[in-house]
């Protein structure tokens, strides 16, 4: 049991680190796409294509650069998580009412002030929903990290498959499902609050 608990913690830590980094990077890329004309198409195209690479292939590819272990998995998860976060940031920012942008400009806010005082706060519900999608997806994708030697709940599942041990597979799968559901539930609550507040 102790072993399972530490696997759950490890799984969660890996995902949270990846999501943390993906959030910062994703919002940054979202802002750049919003600010720089023409770059939006390029950036969105890249993060879009990243997600079309099969996860196993992506990890194998990353393994060449980062070797075996958790770092490779984290990098993989970051790349996977970028799409929903970048896209939602971009949609959120472009979706801020033009009147509010006009008012902010007319009152003498600089570009940065407009971004951090008006545009980002107003886009936050949208951005948060992107982070939620990324988190729930990352929790389940992280399982295949076991194939490139990283920790987490992939281990008991893989072991179970190899030994045809059904209870072992379940031991790994059930916590993943529960974690995904719990994160989804609480983050959806927060999301709802944010949306209500923005009205």
């Amino acid at each position: 049991m102790v072993n399972l608990f530490s696997l759950i913690v490890e799984h969660m830590v890996i995902v949270l680190i990846a999501i943390g980094i993906a959030t910062v990077l994703g919002i940054f890329l979202g802002i750049i796409s919003y600010w720089v004309p023409y770059l939006d198409k390029v950036i969105l195209w890249i993060v879009d294509s990243l997600q079309t690479i099969p996860s196993l292939a992506l990890l194998a590819l990353l393994m060449i650069f980062f070797g075996l272990g958790n770092v490779t998995l984290i990098v993989g998860l970051i790349l996977y998580s970028l799409l929903p976060i970048v896209r939602n940031t971009y949609i959120g920012l472009t979706g801020v009412s033009p009147h509010l942008k006009d008012a902010a400009r007319g009152m003498g806010m600089s570009k940065l002030q407009r971004m951090f005082r008006v545009e980002l706060p107003l886009s936050f519900p949208m951005i948060f929903s992107g982070i939620k999608i990324a988190t729930v997806t990352a929790l389940s994708i992280a399982v295949i990290g076991v194939l490139i030697g990283s920790g987490g709940l992939g281990f008991p599942i893989y072991r179970g498959i190899q030994t045809m041990n059904f209870p072992a597979i379940m031991k790994g799968t059930i916590p993943v499902v529960i974690m995904a559901l719990v994160f989804d539930f609480f983050m959806s609550k927060v999301e709802q609050k944010l949306v209500n507040r923005a009205k």
Binding site: S97, H99, L100, D102, A103, A104, R105, G106, M107, G108, M109, S110, Q113, R117, V118, P121, L122, R197, A198, K199
Partner: protein, 375 residues
């Protein structure tokens, strides 16, 4: 003092500002008005450089604004827009405090400003400061929108159809308030509207624009007395009325044109059914050739009619009739005297043109007095 010198702006082939020159005196309430697309909003937005002219100069107190940092310039000019544009993620207090904060005012100073401004529009601090914009009514929101523009005491305030989206009652009271505030604080206000009522009510000077040019710049009184262009006359419209119209009005101006008529061969029960469906108590009856025959009332049919019989025998001539070209006053007197409460208006060939009722009369008179009614 704001000076425009040969300001030009075009989008593609479309000229928006056509060599515009204009002087706006300090402390004046100046209204830019004109048909849509006349360049009034563009003119306004060149003052705080939300729109940059293609050529020409704009000076504020003698300084060329193109040589100023636009962000700093805007902080010294208040800006109010039609869509209000309060930030929904900030409280009333935070919204008002935006520009003072940008200008690094001290916290106590900002507090004082917010208190003072909310007092100015009778929205007590305790009740309103911590609310979010969505918790306020449209009128209250725009009051805060105006206060936000005034917060850093800018000498100039630009207002782009600020009351256009408000209901008439709220608009009235806000107009009154803004006029008071302007007088009290001595601001220069440049105000865009397409509503001549609003312009006449608020302006010290009205600037009438069309196709990117100033057609006339005058006080409301002067503009009313001698509009410089037919378009302006059009805009002034009902305000130009000086009472002569009433004498020229005829009966048909007062009538309701769509009326229900029935042929005198109609059967009694059908008529009763029709009346109850239309919720009326009498019908206008016409001959086979559509000329007026008389009226028939529900009471009369009930008292004397027999089921299945034609109404021809029940038609009376008790209702007053009037020719459509008769003088309105005559029609009015007939209406007052009419036992049925309405007057039937006839065309020259004796066909039915319409009906004057007390409601249609009141509506027409209201329009003559105060202009087109919405309902």
């Amino acid at each position: 003092m704001i000076q425009f010198r040969n300001v030009k702006k075009s989008y593609g082939k479309k000229t928006i500002l056509d060599n515009l020159s204009l002087d706006i005196k300090a402390g004046e309430f100046v209204i830019l008005i004109g048909p849509s697309g006349c360049g009034k909003t563009t003119t306004l937005k060149t003052i705080n450089r939300l729109i940059e002219p293609d050529s020409g100069e704009i000076y504020i107190d003698g300084k060329d604004i193109t040589k100023m940092d636009p962000v700093k310039l805007r902080r010294t000019i208040g800006y109010v827009i039609q869509q209000i544009g309060l930030f929904p993620n900030m409280t009333v207090e935070q919204n008002i405090a935006i520009v003072p904060k940008l200008l690094n005012y001290k916290k106590e100073e900002i507090d004082e400003i917010v208190h003072h401004l909310l007092d100015l529009v009778n929205m007590p601090y305790e009740e309103n400061a911590k609310k979010y914009p969505s918790e306020l009514s449209g009128g209250q929101q725009q009051r805060i929108g105006v206060l936000r523009a005034l917060a850093a005491s800018p000498p100039i305030v630009l207002m782009d159809e600020p009351f256009g989206a408000l209901d008439p009652v709220t608009r009235d009271s806000l107009q009154e308030e803004i006029k008071k505030i302007q007088k009290k604080l001595g601001k220069t206000i440049v105000f865009v509207t397409h509503d001549m009522d609003e312009a006449l009510r608020l302006a010290d000077t009205i600037v009438f624009m069309n196709e990117g040019k100033v057609l006339q710049m005058a006080s409301p009184e002067e503009m009313l007395q001698s509009p410089a262009h037919p378009i302006i006359k059009d805009f002034l419209g009902k305000h130009m009325n000086n009472g002569n119209d009433a004498e020229n009005m005829v009966a048909s101006d007062f009538m309701r044109a769509k009326v229900l008529t029935v042929p005198k061969t109609k059967k009694t029960l059908e008529c009763i059914e029709l009346m109850s469906r239309r919720d009326v108590s009498s019908l206008i009856v016409v001959e086979d050739d559509d000329t007026y025959c008389g009226t028939v009332s529900v009471d009369k049919i009930k008292a004397q009619g027999k089921a299945g019989k034609e109404i021809a025998g029940l038609v009376t001539m008790e209702s007053m009739t009037v020719n459509r070209n008769s003088n309105a006053q005559e029609a009015f007197e007939l209406l007052i005297a009419s036992p049925t409460g309405y007057v039937v208006v006839l065309n020259d060939d004796n066909t039915v043109a319409g009906l004057i009722t007390k409601t249609s009369m009141a509506k027409a008179m209201g329009e003559a007095l105060w202009g087109e009614m919405t309902q």
